[in-house]
């Protein structure tokens, strides 16, 4: 809402600076977005909240300023009578079918409008000052009245109206060519003003081109109606056709304004001898006009919920200054017809707090029980994981949850083919039309982006986020590319391989006292734009579940007797998983076997095709006595015997 300082001064006395005035507005909830100087005046741009339709006019803002602070004294209104009409009402018939939408319809005829006539200079200047383009003297005056007192009106070329005027629901697929030059295809949910031949306007939103006022127009029908906010809600938004008029009607226009506006119009016309005008006519259905609501005031509730020490009388005075009526006997307040936002008790609490001044409300600290704060486990867990990656030179990324049809995206986080993405039906761009099912493709894109911008030889990225497939699931992904370390002088960095990801999974399981087998994860490599990436994805939701089931950390006794180590090196089929070898070793149940470690894996020269050579170390230690070498040899024979029984293995020297 734009208005000039001088326009407000039409209604109230302003003795302070424009900055001070604007500060007062802002602190009362009418946030001033911008102040700009124009000639000897100031243009004030107010960002109004949707509940304050009463301030969508110069009069409304002035009224508000007066209730914020009485120093903005109201100027006495010059009393003027309703001027006598100078022409007849044409005998047009109206049929208001939707009187719940339009319980009040006021109109007036203007005759002998000449293209040479003009609106008074002060009107043209005020409109120009706030950036409204002049169109036609009558339309300009109507716009002026809208900004001045808040009533949207519409002017039709009266000579183009055919037959009875109806206010009805639109028919499905009815087309209207609007004043903005666009054609709108309506459905049955819209309200239109139409004559027997055509749609004259989308009620309260915009007029039809065909019947609009032009320089050749001689006679005009002026509409000054009340359309209910409930009926107007969303209508303009659905059509993407928001106008000054729809903006006001959907937020609520005072139902007393249509008459005031027509009276004001006839005064301006008479005063400036613009054209002939008829008397003012109204079609009302009182049943559907908004009712002012009586609310019983609970003083204690107001004091307690705001937290201020204020007397009953002060509360009443605040409500009176806001324009409410107050009945002391019943302690009830009644909202003025322009304040749609005052309807339940909480609204009055807000009104008191607002006019008392939020800055004047004291700060009262809460009484808090002395108990340790509770940490939220899932965040503690993810933060520990982040810390681990941080300590291992990984950088955390955060990406949008949106993706497109990129090939890489056709997999879920388990890298299985995946085609049932959650699609966004009203996406902003094709680049962002689906919800991502994995984090890996985002992270690869991050590396590609960085590779174009930066000179790194090594990329280590991770992200923790929810991905969306059949369910939403929180996962962790890390993606690496290139050397394992940043370039440095000491030694040449090895390249990353998949076992580096295995280490991460093992470390994470250790961080939370779990086994690798408790975790749900995948480790893969992938090629994108000729570059190799290795990644690991792990289900964080699963991890959290496992952790919360996990028993507490506890100590296990260990022996202080010496250990004996024996190593075995053997050749085995390449296809046999290490895990199954470990299982066999475990099944030998050698109690003194305290640790098994893989110290060598070799495939290549001197090893037959499809075979691998493994070197495994065994640490033996007993709780009760010092082991002899013979005993250790016996254990190793036992283990070797089991392995030979299960697998085809060949010892190496």
């Amino acid at each position: 809402m734009k208005v000039t300082r001088s326009w407000l001064e039409n209604y109230i006395e302003i003795t302070n600076t424009t900055d001070e005035l604007c500060h007062d507005l802002t602190m009362a909830g009418l946030e001033v977005d911008d102040i700009s100087k124009i000639e000897n005046d100031y243009l004030i741009d107010i960002d109004l909240t949707p509940n304050r339709s009463d301030c969508l006019s110069a009069k409304g803002i002035s009224r508000e300023l007066n209730s914020i602070n009485a120093q903005y004294k109201k100027k006495p209104k010059v009393e003027s009578n309703i001027p006598n009409s100078t022409c007849e009402n044409r005998g047009l018939k109206f049929n208001i079918v939707e009187d719940n939408v339009c319980p009040r319809y006021g109109y007036m005829y203007l005759e002998n409008v000449s293209s040479a006539c003009s609106a008074p200079d002060y009107i043209n200047k005020r409109l120009k000052d706030i950036g409204i383009t002049l169109i036609h003297p009558i339309v300009d005056i109507l716009n002026y009245i809208m900004i001045d007192i808040g009533q949207p009106m519409h002017a039709y070329d009266a000579d183009k109206i055919n037959g009875e005027i109806t206010i009805r629901q639109s028919k499905d697929k009815e087309i209207m060519s609007a004043l903005d030059g666009n054609k709108y295809k309506l459905n049955s949910g819209n309200i239109v003003v139409s004559d027997s031949a055509q749609i004259m306007s989308l009620a309260g939103i915009i007029g039809a081109e065909e019947i609009s006022v032009s320089n050749n127009t001689k006679n005009i029908l002026v509409e000054s109606a009340f359309f209910t906010p409930n009926a107007m809600a969303n209508k303009a938004r659905i059509l993407k056709l928001q106008t000054e008029s729809s903006h006001r009607f959907e937020r609520g226009v005072d139902y007393n304004l249509p008459r005031e506006a027509l009276v004001f119009l006839s005064q301006i016309i008479e005063e400036n001898k613009i054209c002939d005008f008829s008397n003012i006519n109204f079609i009302d259905n009182e049943d559907f006009l908004p009712k002012n609501k009586e609310v019983k005031i609970n003083y204690d509730n107001i004091r307690n919920s705001i937290g201020i020490d204020i007397s009953d009388d002060e509360i009443i005075n605040i409500l009176l200054s806001a324009g409410c009526k107050f009945d002391e006997k019943s302690n009830t307040a009644m909202n003025p017809s322009y304040r749609y936002d005052l309807s339940i008790h909480a609204d009055y609490v807000e009104e008191v707090a607002r006019l008392y001044g939020y800055d004047n409300i004291p700060v009262t600290s809460e009484k808090i029980n002395i108990e340790p704060s509770k940490k939220y486990t899932p965040f503690e867990i993810t933060n520990k994981i982040r810390q681990y990656f941080y300590n291992n030179s990984y950088s955390e990324c955060i990406n949008y949850s949106f993706v497109n049809d990129d090939l890489l995206e056709n997999s879920n986080w388990k890298s299985e083919e995946f085609k049932n993405h959650n699609k966004i039906s009203n996406y902003m761009s094709l680049e962002q039309n689906k919800l991502r099912s994995n984090l890996v493709s985002s992270l690869i894109r991050n590396i590609e982006y960085n590779n174009n911008m930066n000179s790194e030889n090594s990329y280590r990225f991770f992200e923790i986020s929810t991905v969306f497939s059949h369910n939403a699931e929180q996962v962790l992904s890390c993606v690496v590319n290139g050397d394992k370390h940043e370039e440095q002088w000491s030694s040449k960095s090895p390249k990353f391989d998949k076992y580096d990801m295995t280490t991460i999974v093992e470390d994470i399981s250790k961080l939370f006292g779990l086994n690798k087998s408790d975790l749900r994860y995948v480790i893969k490599d992938v090629k994108s734009n000729d570059k190799n990436y290795i990644y690991m994805t792990l289900s964080v939701d699963n991890l959290i579940r496992k952790i919360t089931q996990n028993i507490k950390e506890h100590h296990v006794n260990y022996t202080k007797l010496p250990y004996i180590r024996r190593d075995l090196s053997f050749v085995i089929d390449e296809s046999i998983e290490y895990q199954s070898i470990l299982k066999i070793i475990e099944e030998t149940n050698v109690h003194s076997l305290k640790k098994t470690l893989l110290f060598d894996l070799y495939i290549g020269k001197n090893i037959p095709d499809k075979k691998k050579s493994l070197g495994i170390g065994f640490i033996f230690q007993d709780e009760g006595k010092t082991l002899t070498h013979e005993e250790a040899d016996g254990f190793i024979e036992q283990i070797l015997g089991q392995l030979k029984e299960q697998f085809k293995i060949e010892l190496r020297k």
């Binding site: 705001i306 607002r354 990324c397």
Partner: protein, 337 residues
């Protein structure tokens, strides 16, 4: 050649070797010495060849002498080599404090995560408990239960992404309030951090951003308490005891009274300005009632923080989009723990 002359010659060669090898100070010169004294064209080798001209006993003695000298020279060379290698190692061990270290093991945590954890920590210390809710929401929890019916003009304030199955991406973390009030009875004191989505993209808006929602419902909760909590949070978060904070009336369908909170900051020209930092208010009685909480007995406050905005202010970031580019030059600026 007689055995005696040979003996004298050998003493001379050994002397020469002793002196020459002593003076060598690098490995390549030492190699030249080796070639000079023991190589194919060396004097020693020519002596070896001349042995064939001697008779039995003389030959044996001369051979013995020759071998001894050869061994001594070899010893000299290897000793020298050892000492030279040691000194080159010493050079390397001359630790240079100004040298860069080896590859760093420090990565970086995304500034949004850091700021969010920072804020959560403060609220947890103020006894708020953290909760989370789904990012894919239904209309009821995102709008209706928050006093935003279908026809409400406030819906225009939230440009919502809808999924094809009529679900939507939550436009605020206030939806978690609703879910918590459905499940818990007062007193309720929670914060709900997370991602939210709005159909908006320009310098000051990204289609995805992060919020922290706070809610306290109990008996006798007042606007004055809300002011207190917000003051404590902002002063702690910005680590500024004298931070100037103002509350001004605003409008949200789910709170009444509603407020926007501004903080005072100095712009690049050194002028004092107010900057909007969060929205808050007393929970609207309709919201409480919809969650079956008696608004005559209980009242509450709620607030919503934009994490990106907090991060921009605290870290001096001016372009919102940097958060989602994940450029290492950006990420690595925030390596502090």
């Amino acid at each position: 050649m007689s055995g005696d002359t040979l003996k004298q010659d050998l003493v001379r060669v050994l002397d020469e070797a002793l002196n020459s090898i002593k003076g060598v100070n690098n490995l390549s010169d030492l190699e030249k010495m080796r070639v000079h004294f023991l190589g194919k064209k060396s004097t020693l080798i020519s002596f070896m060849k001349s042995l064939s001209g001697l008779n039995g006993e003389e030959k044996a003695t001369a051979g013995k002498n020759l071998n001894s000298v050869k061994q001594q020279i070899n010893q000299l060379l290897s000793d020298k080599k050892k000492s030279l290698s040691k000194s080159s190692l010493d050079l390397k061990d001359a630790f240079d404090l100004s040298m860069p270290g080896k590859a760093s093991s420090i990565g970086s945590i995304h500034p949004i995560t850091k700021i969010m954890s920072n804020a959560i920590e403060i609220f947890e210390s103020l006894k708020f408990e953290c909760v989370e809710g789904p990012e894919i929401e239904d209309d009821f929890h995102n709008f209706t239960a928050l006093n935003i019916p279908e026809s409400h003009p406030a819906r225009a304030m939230h440009d919502t992404f809808y999924l094809e199955n009529s679900f939507l991406l939550r436009t605020h973390t206030s939806s978690v309030q609703v879910r918590t009030m459905d499940e818990q009875n007062p007193p309720i004191r929670i914060i709900a951090p997370g991602k939210v989505y709005r159909k908006d993209s320009d310098i000051t808006h990204t289609p995805m951003f992060h919020q922290i929602e706070g809610l306290y419902v109990d008996k006798n909760v007042s606007f004055s308490n809300l002011k207190s909590v917000i003051n404590i949070f902002l002063k702690n978060f910005f680590e500024e005891d004298d931070l100037r904070i103002r509350f001004r009336p605003s409008y949200f369908p789910f709170t009444e009274p509603s407020a926007e909170v501004d903080i005072e900051y100095l712009d690049s020209k050194g002028n004092k300005n107010w900057l909007e930092i969060l929205g808050c208010g007393m929970v609207h009685p309709n919201v409480l009632e919809m969650a079956n909480i008696d608004s005559k007995i209980y009242s509450g406050y709620a607030f919503g923080l934009g994490v990106e905005r907090l991060a921009m202010l605290k870290l001096g970031i001016t372009d919102l989009r940097l958060f989602y580019e994940n450029d290492l030059r950006f990420l690595k600026q925030f390596q502090r723990i």
